[in-house]
Symmetry: C2
Subunit: 404 residues, 2 copies
Amino acid sequence: MESLDEKFSALEAENAPGQELRQDTTSLESIVIGKKLGGIPVDFSHGDVDAFPPTPGAETAWKAGFDQGGQQAYTEYRGALEIRKRLAERLGSFTGCQISADSELIIAPGTQGALFLALGATVTNGTKVAVVEPDYFANRKLVKFFGGEIIPISLKYMDSPAENGIDLNQLEDAFKGGTTVFVFSTPNNPTGLVYSRSAITKIAELAAMYHVTIIVDQLYSRMLYSGEIFTHLRSCAIQPENLITIMGPSKTESLSGFRLGIAIGTPKLIDRMERLQAIVSLRAAGYNQAVLNTWFAEPEGWMEKRIRAHEAIRNDLLEIFRAANIRTATPQAGSYLFPQLPPLRVDLNTFVRLLRHQAGVTVTPGPEFAPAFMDSIRLNFSQDHAAAVAAVKRIVKMAEIYRL
Amino acid sequence: MESLDEKFSALEAENAPGQELRQDTTSLESIVIGKKLGGIPVDFSHGDVDAFPPTPGAETAWKAGFDQGGQQAYTEYRGALEIRKRLAERLGSFTGCQISADSELIIAPGTQGALFLALGATVTNGTKVAVVEPDYFANRKLVKFFGGEIIPISLKYMDSPAENGIDLNQLEDAFKGGTTVFVFSTPNNPTGLVYSRSAITKIAELAAMYHVTIIVDQLYSRMLYSGEIFTHLRSCAIQPENLITIMGPSKTESLSGFRLGIAIGTPKLIDRMERLQAIVSLRAAGYNQAVLNTWFAEPEGWMEKRIRAHEAIRNDLLEIFRAANIRTATPQAGSYLFPQLPPLRVDLNTFVRLLRHQAGVTVTPGPEFAPAFMDSIRLNFSQDHAAAVAAVKRIVKMAEIYRL
């Protein structure tokens, strides 16, 4: 029998984004070199919804849901039908392929909630799941929690767009070897890499050929920078038998405080996800669901402006890291940077704690995204522009101080 | 390897409360006897938050949370510390035993969310879990989902308070036989039975003696009727090594649309629950958490008035069922009735669909609470008083029409 202690030690969350408050920093005093670096504290572990506030109209939409009373408090487990109809239309148009509101869409408590349901619906004891390295930290934890086996797939992200991407031969070998589920994010979290059209097409074809279920997390697909092209797997000509596409308004739209996400998928899998949701949390908070009415219906020009503001921050931060010879890939989408630090005289977790303690900067350590990334840190740069620039300068300074 | 199809067929949710919308009623036409029974439709599958609206101040508290911005959008996974501190104080006083806000309390997306986390933190493949019959429908589904084995414990609820209760010898035998977790609700859902002080004390003692983890769901413990006494297991002199107590403001306080619940428990188990929450949905919706500031701080007299209004409905409905010789236990707390129907010429699920189709009355079939209850239905009578009375008269009429 599997031990619960083992099972939960694999879910260690102390270094997870947002949990830094729970860390004990008293033990750092003896290893600090030099003085504190002053400046506005910046928490790069998640976006700053005060710097980039929620979609205009979010509060009004919430209030309309609350005023609707019982009907909105107790929706079907998969979410209110009227809201699903509106979303099916808008998301069908965005992703390039029609969606049945009744059978192919579910509203979940956050994109995290949708991902949990998706993996819960497809992974059980012994399921082999291909997981990209690096990728969103919860993917690996979820596979382990449901008793699955992780088959790692490497992602190249530091080279030119033509050379970057996952190793498709390695993926096909995994599929041949009995892998039945493949989960990945595009844009990739933490690197901002967008999978090319040819990679997405090939993944869809391989999945169809080997009967592999695909779970694709497209959380950041709206925050696409100048000149980049995004390919929706669900719009490919050849389709896998089972596909789940996950999105949500928590990032670009800053609606994270409402805990809303959606999954679009094969009816059989959406059914399973709803059954699981019934015992997990019943439904996404009823009144909050109404805020989805603002999604893909933002004021004219608002989204464009938000993307440009992020692109400007991205460019400035990349320049600072690169001037200091800290290798950092250019994110094609999303608001993450994943710089690779020089060799340090302290281990990465200690450096991350020092950053917080001495420089007022919170970042997420690379090993949250795959064990091998012991020299990288992730920054969510959806922050006040000037504060982010100053904080990244402090990171560079700290890397100099603690350089080996 | 366990089949996912099997796993999810055990989670069948079509007859679960709130899912009736998804049922197909076209096949009923051929078996309907007589005409439709007119009247205001009543959905007894859950409380009517329009008849009993949310706690005064809930909307203002939500708005204060929203206005706090990023700090309230991104709380620790276990919930905002300030809110946990306030809750620890109030719930410590309510349950008769101090609570550490830092280590013994977690905020979850609904009481359902808290229950999911509690069972996820304690049940894995092969864990033997004692489950009361009848009890809340999700208990059995959750144990199965996590790979546990259900050890059924019978509850007597139709007799006098002195005779009612679970079979404590059967419970001790289960504990002797390797059961390591016991989950139950008091007040019991669906019968409204409140476990006596002597039963609760004995459960705590047996759990301590046999090292069994207790999960006690006290969701309805505030809705206590005249002359009844509630015993909090966590206030007993002898304590189990591991105890989780679950509560939430979804029922008596009508805050279900916010999806808020809490668990109080042994620090090690609260830690596990937080790790699990990190991969399930990160946290209860941030802005909604602020609504917990109204909990146990309702306006003077408001709660008392709400309880009396429910007691009056309870008394009227019991009188109607009993006048028709439909056996129904008197709930000591909560807003559920669990009447036992006479033998019918159609099976129970068909009768429940006929009730909805022909009489505009939605109820939950007994087998949702344990397989044996093929002759019972559950009603949540937190409804408009007059509409509930009329609807229960229609149930009685329907039982006469379809009587064998």
